[in-house]
């Protein structure tokens, strides 16, 4: 066998192997998605989106309270995690010297890897215990704590991609460091920062564990930020482990809804990012 044939063969084998691996990697996703579509679609109807749950035994009803509750929790999480996270990212990228940023960055990396149940217990200790009961606020706080390190890291990374010559263009006009950061650097990275926030929200939207000890659950509408609130992941969990067929079907449908929303946010923000990267390369 001559060398060229040998090389071609190695090439063909290797590319098939890697293609196969890639396929195996996406199979679970496709499988999950397919299963959810098969099992969940039948329960997706108008009542599902607009009605409250009905007592066991009755058929029909919906999960409107969980949908609104999830939105409420994510909004609270964003209110807490986004301003702090963006400010932290700006500090790390633009103002950090050596010592403090190193510690903060390390802490953020660690925080991302902390199991979400631990974050739930933490929020329980600092919010639920002092107040004395579960609440939407506590749940939003727990999700916000999860959001924080992701937003910090992401913001810092996007700010770092802002080219030096753009900063220098502002400095050369006599603008100070702070002015340059806020008027030129942050706007230049804005799209990336926002996309990162959306991706982070999509990630925590499916978290159940931090809500067990914090937002808990609620079979009715949430009646205030200091009251327990239902959410999609919590509802999926409760309905999923229940003994009722109707609840099982609704859990499948809720899971389909959640995954669908997360996928849409993910794909859209990645598209925006990719387009932006491409346009910057041309410019």
């Amino acid at each position: 066998m001559n060398r060229l044939t040998w090389r071609k063969m190695v090439n063909a084998v290797m590319s098939s192997v890697t293609a196969l691996c890639a396929l195996i990697a996406v199979v679970p996703l496709l499988f999950v998605l397919g299963l959810l579509v098969v099992k969940g679609t039948s329960s997706l109807n108008w009542a599902f989106f607009t009605k409250l749950p009905v007592p066991v035994g009755e058929t029909g009803g919906g999960i409107a309270n969980a949908i609104v509750g999830s939105a409420e929790l994510l909004l609270l999480a964003a209110l807490f995690g986004v301003p702090l996270g963006v400010a932290g990212g700006i500090y790390l990228s633009e103002f950090g010297g050596w010592g403090v940023p190193f510690v903060v960055r390390y802490a953020a990396d660690l925080l991302v890897t902390v199991p979400s149940i631990v974050i739930g217990i933490f929020a329980y200790a600092v919010v639920v215990l002092p107040v004395g009961h579960f609440s939407a606020l506590a749940g939003g706080f727990a999700l916000g704590v999860m959001l924080l390190p992701i937003v910090v890291t992401n913001t810092e990374q996007f700010l770092r991609t802002v080219p030096v010559w753009l900063r220098e263009g502002s400095l050369a006009l006599g603008a100070g460091h702070w002015k340059t950061t806020m008027s030129v650097v942050v706007p230049a990275a804005m799209q990336g920062i926002l996309t990162g926030i959306l991706l982070a929200l999509a990630r925590v939207a499916g978290e159940t564990a931090p809500l067990i000890f914090t937002a808990f659950n609620n079979a009715y509408w949430n009646r205030g930020l200091n009251q327990p609130v239902s959410s999609l992941p919590y509802m999926i969990w409760i309905y999923g482990i229940s003994a009722y067929d109707d609840w099982h079907r609704q859990a499948w449908a809720a899971a389909l809804l959640l995954l669908g929303l997360v996928l849409v946010v993910n794909v859209l923000s990645r598209l925006v990012l990719a387009r932006r990267m491409a346009s910057r390369r041309i410019a």
């Binding site: 030096v164 263009g169 006599g174 706007p187």
Partner: protein, 282 residues
């Protein structure tokens, strides 16, 4: 005629006759030179332990165009960035020696003040991610020079000064990224002009541009010259010959020769200058 003479003749043809008259028509001794705007004496520059400029001394004349030429890496950019103290963004960078702007040491001036008086245009066009209008208005806003109708007027003047007004007057609120490379570079010039600098430093402003855009920029430099002292780094010898009243030749961190452009191109006193100009190296 030797090859060297032929090459020299070639560049000499680019010498701008009007420019030549401004400087060389006056007899050598009694020459009525414009005032010194920037005076450098024994300027040394270091990036950490590495010395990049050695004993630079030069008088840069007011409202004239001075070109800096020399091979890559010889310190031209570094010298420009010393004049507006842009080098201070680099860690461990340090400048020594005397560098005066109108007889005041640039090292004593507050940075916003120095950079208001000494503007800079970079090698690569660097519009901000803002509208064309907001790009030009950026400097005046930073320094609180104008707002409202007065600001709009200032923006128009600056865009006219950079020969860009006619092309963008109907799209002032479009993103600056929608402009072509040549337009973006003129926008950078308009942005710099908007704070009415006394000196404008240009670091190879045409190196990324096509010949037509280059010609436009050269033309507008002549127009700006009346209000502003210009220092331009260029790799293009013909460009230096066309636009500059004075030319300085840098080689490995030293200012080998500094004189009026005609002398540099027709009768350089140093062998290295002659070798570079005639294309024997560099």
């Amino acid at each position: 005629m030797s090859a060297t003479d032929a090459a020299r003749l070639d560049v000499t043809q680019n010498l701008n006759p009007e420019k030549a008259q401004e400087t060389a028509a006056v007899p050598e001794a009694g020459r009525n030179q414009p005032a010194v705007k920037i005076k450098a004496r024994n300027v040394d520059f270091f990036y950490g332990p590495k010395q990049v400029l050695q004993g630079i001394s030069a008088d840069i004349r007011e409202r004239r165009i001075t070109a800096l030429i020399g091979p890559s890496g010889c310190g031209k950019t570094t010298f420009l960035r010393t004049i507006n103290r842009m080098y201070e963004t680099v860690k461990n960078a340090r400048a020594d020696g005397e560098l005066l702007l109108d007889s005041e040491s640039i090292f004593d001036l507050a940075l916003p003040h120095l950079r208001r008086r000494v503007g800079m245009v970079f090698q690569k066009p660097n519009p901000f991610p803002k509208s064309i209008f907001d790009n030009v208005a950026y400097g005046p806003r930073v320094h609180g020079l104008a707002n409202g109708a007065r600001l709009a007027e200032l923006v128009e003047q600056s865009l006219r000064g950079a020969a860009l007004w006619e092309e963008v007057k109907d799209s002032l609120h479009k993103s600056a990224f929608s402009l072509s490379g040549g337009q973006q570079q003129r926008l950078s010039i308009a942005r710099a002009l908007a704070i009415d600098p006394e000196v404008l430093l240009l670091d190879e402003p045409c190196s990324a541009l096509d010949p037509i855009s280059t010609a436009k920029i050269e033309e507008l430099l002549f127009a700006i010259e009346n209000r502003c002292t210009l220092v331009i780094v260029t790799h293009n010898m013909a460009q230096a010959a066309r636009v500059a009243d004075y030319t300085g030749f840098f080689l490995t961190g030293k200012l080998v020769e500094f004189n009026d452009t005609k002398t540099i191109f027709t009768n350089p006193s140093r062998k290295e200058t002659e070798d570079y100009i005639t294309g024997r190296f560099g």
